[in-house]
């Protein structure tokens, strides 16, 4: 086993699959709640976490987790007021990305790695990275699984959930923490610019194939894992960048799933 984990390709596949399995259910919730832009915002701002972690010489994943958590909480709180929610998210997303890039330029040795942070560097995942990625992804998934029914209820309608004795605010908090964990886990796999794709594409691809929320969550996880393995294989054979190749594979699955869904409707 240890010998097997010594192979960078195996580590890459395991890291990608771990992220995909967590991103499936979380991505479904993000899509159902129309939070796609929130995922992007947290992911972009995570670059600032990378910069700070490198500057302070702490681990990148803990640094990203801390900043992602802060940004996610700020975004969850700071709605309403003068600006529409998507305007504020745009400010936070682009602002976080730009500030992160500027701060990174001050950190010696980080500039050369810029594309790794933006688009991921899954082939450079070390054994310790792999452990952290699975820990973060596993924690996020466990949180979602434990709170699944209440999350589903507050996703259907927050007022209805509250009137029935639920607590939509703490559901939102749970989702926010899970999102930050996933961003921290996925940053090294697909990079700040493509984390959102890992959330949205598999969930969107699963939609035409299913009739229940749970089936959509599991299908999204499965399709995400397929995209990771397919994308890695393609990157290996065609010598393309791994992160974008994974997302292209997910896009292909999305198109196929929609074609299948359309054919099924025509048959019926």
């Amino acid at each position: 086993m240890t010998e097997l984990l010594g192979d960078f390709m195996v580590r890459a596949a395991l890291a990608g699959v771990g992220v995909a399995l967590a991103a499936g259910p979380l991505g479904c919730l993000v899509v159902w709640r129309r939070m796609a832009y929130v995922g992007d915002t947290v992911a972009h701002a995570a670059l600032l976490g990378v910069a700070l972690a490198l500057a302070l010489e702490i681990g990148v994943i803990p640094g990203v987790l801390a900043v992602a958590l802060l940004v996610a909480l700020a975004v969850a709180r700071g709605s309403g007021g003068r600006y529409a929610a998507d305007t504020l998210l745009g400010v936070a997303a682009h602002g976080g990305l730009a500030v992160g890039l500027v701060v990174l330029s001050f950190v010696s040795g980080a500039q050369g790695d810029l594309s790794a942070w933006l688009f991921g560097d899954i082939l450079a995942v070390g054994p310790w990275d792999l452990a952290l990625i699975w820990a973060a992804a596993g924690l996020a998934t466990a949180g979602l699984a434990l709170g699944w029914t209440r999350l589903l209820n507050s996703t259907i309608n927050e007022e209805l959930a509250a009137a029935e004795g639920g607590d939509p605010e703490s559901d939102r908090l749970l989702l926010t923490v899970a999102l930050a964990l996933l961003v921290a886990a996925a940053l090294k796999v697909v990079g700040a610019l493509l984390v959102g794709a890992m959330l949205i594409l598999p969930a969107a691809a699963a939609r035409p194939l299913v009739r229940t929320p749970e089936a959509m969550a599991l299908t999204a996880a499965g399709l995400g894992a397929m995209a990771v393995l397919g994308g890695l294989r393609f990157a290996w054979m065609a010598d393309t960048p791994a992160g974008p190749s994974i997302v292209v594979a997910a896009l292909a699955l999305f198109l196929v799933a929609n074609a299948v869904g359309r054919m099924r409707r025509m048959v019926r």
Partner: protein, 270 residues
């Protein structure tokens, strides 16, 4: 006092720019059917949300009986099209009710054939019935219904009120609903609360329709829709008390100056 399910004291809600509700004192008692009426923008939906706990009031407080079970149907239930959900599952998510009970509830609200349909394929009226089935399955102490007859035709509306009455008799649940249809409301309610930012008047339907506050809000007979927004200037607090004493003696009634949230007589709405 002990039969109260919910009590609001000095309740106020503002959205930062505008006070939607202010100085609302009201109680819901077990087993009664209360209807909230009022013009557009009077804060009816906001009041119902605050009462059931779906919204935090900015002033005052709302007391709810411990372990109060509420069955709530929002005015508009929009479920994102990307969420795959059958009607049966939607209904099940509100309680631990078993399959047979869920079938019976869908039967009761008149959509037994839709249990396997996706909620996103339902019409507004069908979705509202599904929400009612979900609320009924919770075996609630209180049914809180926000414009439950919206989108129903007249026979459907009459059937709906018969259903509500039957549910109340069978389960003893209190019902608090918002309605626009004044005529039907009058026949179906024990108590009417007339709202316009605050409680303008409340009491038995026949009593409330006799108050100047009610007439000011809903017009005097056939003056039409404009009358809804017309501001009556010719009543005073003294006048109100006089009317109250002259009306149904035992009925609880509070009168208050009203209507200042709206523009002056005949003026445009803000």
């Amino acid at each position: 006092m002990s039969s109260n399910l919910i009590e609001a004291r000095g309740l106020g809600v503002s959205d930062g720019r505008r006070r939607i509700l202010y100085d609302v004192d009201m109680a819901l008692r077990s087993g009664e059917i209360v209807t909230i009426v009022g013009p557009n923008g009077a804060g009816k939906t906001t009041l119902l949300r605050a009462l059931v706990g779906a919204l935090k009031p900015s002033e005052g407080e709302v007391w709810r009986r411990r372990r109060l079970r509420i069955g709530y149907t929002p005015q508009k239930l929009t479920i994102d099209r990307t969420l795959p959900l059958t009607v049966d599952r939607f209904v099940a998510l509100g309680s631990g009710a078993g399959r047979a009970a869920r079938r019976a509830a869908l039967e009761t609200v008149g959509i037994p054939e839709l249990d396997g349909s996706q909620v996103t394929d339902l019409s507004g009226g069908e979705l509202q019935r599904a929400a009612l089935a979900r609320a009924l399955l919770r075996e609630p102490d209180l049914l809180a219904l926000d414009e439950p007859t919206e989108g129903l035709d007249q026979p459907g509306e009459a059937a709906f009120y018969r259903l509500i009455d039957r549910v109340r008799r069978q389960t003893g649940a209190a019902v608090c609903m918002i309605s626009h249809d004044l005529h039907v409301v009058m026949g179906a309610s024990d108590r009417v609360v007339c709202l316009n930012g605050h409680v303008c008047c409340e009491g038995a339907p026949l009593h409330v329709t006799g108050t100047p506050e009610y007439r000011a809000l809903f017009g005097l007979g056939t003056q039409g829709a404009l009358a809804l927004y017309r501001h009556e200037h010719d009543h005073t607090h003294g006048h109100v008390h006089h009317q109250t004493h002259g009306a149904v003696g035992t009925e609880h009634h509070r009168g208050r100056d009203h209507g200042h949230a709206l523009a002056g007589s005949g003026g445009a709405q803000p």
